[in-house]
Amino acid sequence: MNTPNEFALQMRHVSKRFGGVQALDDVSLEVKVGEVHCLAGENGCGKSTLIKIVTGVHPPEHGAEISVFGHPVAAYSPTLARASGIAVIWQDLALFPHMSVAENIGFDEMVGAKPHLANLKSIRKRAQAVMTRLGVSLDLDARLNTLPIAERQVVAIARALISDARLIFMDEPTASLTQSETDALLDIVRTLSANGVAIVFVSHRLAEVLDIAERVTVVRDGRMVGVYPTKDMTQSRLGELMTGSSLESKVSARDMSSAEAVLDVVGLTRRDEFEDISFTVGRGEVVGVIGLIGSGRTELAHALIGMSQPEAGTIRLNNASISPRSIRDAIKVGIAYVSEDRLSLGLVQQQSIADNAVVSVLSRLLGYLGLISASKKSNLVDDWIERLAVKIGTSKDAVSTLSGGNQQRVVLAKWLATEPKLLILDSPTVGVDVGARAGIFKIVRQLAEQGIAILLISDEVTEAYFNSDRILHMADGRIQSEYNPIQTTVAALEEQIYA
């Protein structure tokens, strides 16, 4: 029916066991030449295992049928994968931060299997050609670690292209990009696709998936859910397919105008960061702040928690003027801050779940002789793990062993233990699964109902739209306007904000 060369990749009946875990069970993946195909599924569903099989890192179980560009493959290896034009751009990019852009792009040429001298001149020339093909211009001599993440991503793509990749897997390429950077990347992906390069795109962001891909393969718990054209697919339907349960997304906004103000900010200004910021957050109210990276949103949060000092304006908490000089001052008056960077600022990843949960409330654990009481500690930890339904083995395990969603629950537990009056959530769902996001926001809603004032900072319009009572739009260091989710739609809001 199809000519063999219509497919860049055909995999059928792929299964993989690791010890007692069935990571993949009879999964298929077919990618057409020049197609943008999306691989969707929650963390731990088997996406990464599948990519590792495609690239020859793990051999599949007996019975798998794989053919690459029409040629059936019997024994698969990383060398063969690369030789047949398959490349993977991992989330961490696997680039060399201290080498130049040209050296990074030409790396595979410079240290190939055959011993030959690196010819930087020809590499520069070829790197330049690839850049032109991608329609981008980067300084070839710039050191990689001086570039923003978005440009490093381009370098990683160029590196794949210079070795004639015709099928590129991209693992969550937009996870740490801003909206405009994401748009630029999606344009590059479209260019590649028009040039006949097939792209398999792995992403948590459903809007993006539906925007860029022609078809989407959904995997859940190691099993194939199905392959769907994206034409008639909606975000909520895709979310349901990935999680296996229906995700309600309805506007949760309430009229909180009569709630007494917990946080009252007037005219807050810090040069080059934000200017004349005034807003209130009421008791039990969820106020969304939509702003991209660089809009001043995180800088504003930092000023509220004492990490930086504003130059003008006042902050009042429960009618008392405050000027926190450190995060300790902020905690003392009842402000908690969930950082956007869970990996390096939110949690001490290597240390245990228990220690992370109590780190901000040590003084409450002291018992006999002012020493930390083991029983007070374990009571507090067990209590919060139960209240937030964190799924763990034991609380002695390192926090890094948990999934993104469960880690974020530990972060919430840690801050809720400080009994905050104001909870600032800075991009709380970065790297959190679709299903787990719903769980996080359910908790946020409950906290609001208990009377905690919540400031929800996000660069995803839909997230703020569905979970806030009011929305502030921040750009260029200023609050541009205020929206009520009930009186608008996601589409209208997106249009106004990205206009």
Binding site: I327, V359, T418
Partner: protein, 324 residues
């Protein structure tokens, strides 16, 4: 079975594996020479261990916090020098016990201050502990040699002899001092806010700061306490050698690092406990005195120490593989 698991969880598998290594060393030397399992050998180990042990405790906490203190030996000696100066001022060999207490306080103040200075630079200027403590090490050595003209100060009162070589109800006094320090360090690391902060800072200082821990104050405290315990080691060294010299114990610097790593400290900080480090120290001391008893060359024991660390690393690798 569950009883064994309970024991393993409460004292930690690290302690058990080091303890079995200690048993192997003791049994091995006991077979090799009848002199090993004797009171006099245990006595000599008990007198030699404390100085190295105190210096190791001084090295341990900076490593746990992700740093290092290269200045421990000279901090100890400059503190010893402070005490010697006080003793000399009050009549040298005739100095009263009161002069000793004054001298000990002077030593602890000097040790604590040199630690505090390092801690403040590390905490508030953000300089790397290796550089800061290297600078402090060179400064203290130069200062000490300038003050002593490179010579010894000796002629201490007779009670210093008791401190360095005496016993209390059969237990060597230096060992009592060391055990007290071990107990305090263990409680400090496992049960206090300061200790908790040390581990968090050692793993990720930024996340610790964002969690509201006093990261800078803790860093300053870590090096101050390291200096204080160096001072205690310095007093003990003065008592054991009956003299103070800037170069005393120079060779011990890297041995303390060795003991820390042998005791399972993570070289990148954040993980490690006092008890395994103490067992590691005992192993090192048994190795060197055992080799000495069977007539091996002094230099050989250093070589064996190095090999032993490599062996332990290999063993840890194997056990972690087996666990997977």
């Amino acid at each position: 079975m569950s009883f064994l698991t309970h024991i393993r969880e409460s004292i930690g598998s690290e302690v058990l594996s080091l303890f079995s290594a200690l048993v192997v060393v003791v049994v091995g030397f006991s077979i090799a020479t009848p002199l090993f399992l004797s009171a006099s050998n245990f006595g000599s180990i008990a007198f030699q261990l404390p100085v190295l042990g105190l210096l190791t405790l001084a090295m341990m906490v900076p490593i746990l916090s992700g740093g290092l203190n290269l200045a421990i030996i000279y901090t100890a000696n400059i503190s010893g020098l402070a005490m010697a100066a006080v003793l000399m001022h009050f009549g040298g060999a005739e100095a009263s016990l009161g002069a000793f207490f004054l001298g000990a306080i002077a030593a602890i103040v000097v040790g604590g201050l040199s630690g505090l200075l390092m801690g403040l630079v590390v905490a508030y200027l953000g300089a790397h502990p290796i550089l800061v403590s290297l600078a402090m090490m060179i400064f203290l050595r130069g200062l000490g040699e300038f003050l002593t003209h490179g010579g010894d100060i000796s002629g201490f009162p007779p009670y210093m002899e008791t401190l360095g070589h005496g016993s209390l109800i059969g237990v060597p006094v230096p060992l009592l001092i060391f055990l007290a320090a071990v107990f305090i360090w263990h409680i400090k690391l496992s049960r206090t806010q300061h200790g908790f902060s040390v581990y968090m800072i050692g793993s990720n200082i930024d996340a610790a700061e964002y969690s509201g821990l006093h990261t800078r104050r803790t860093l300053a405290m870590i090096y101050t306490l390291s200096g204080v315990i160096c001072a205690v080691a310095g007093i003990l060294m003065a008592a054991r050698f009956n003299s103070v010299r800037v170069g005393h114990g120079e060779a011990l610097l890297l041995v303390t690092v060795l003991a820390c790593f042998l005791g399972g400290l993570d070289p990148f900080g954040g993980f490690g406990r006092v008890l395994p480090v103490v067992i590691a120290l005992i192993i090192l001391q048994c190795l060197s005195s055992g080799l000495n008893l069977i007539g091996a060359n002094q230099h050989l024991s250093t070589a064996v120490w190095g090999l032993f660390l490599i062996g332990v690393m290999a063993m840890r690798w194997v056990t972690s593989r087996l666990r997977e």
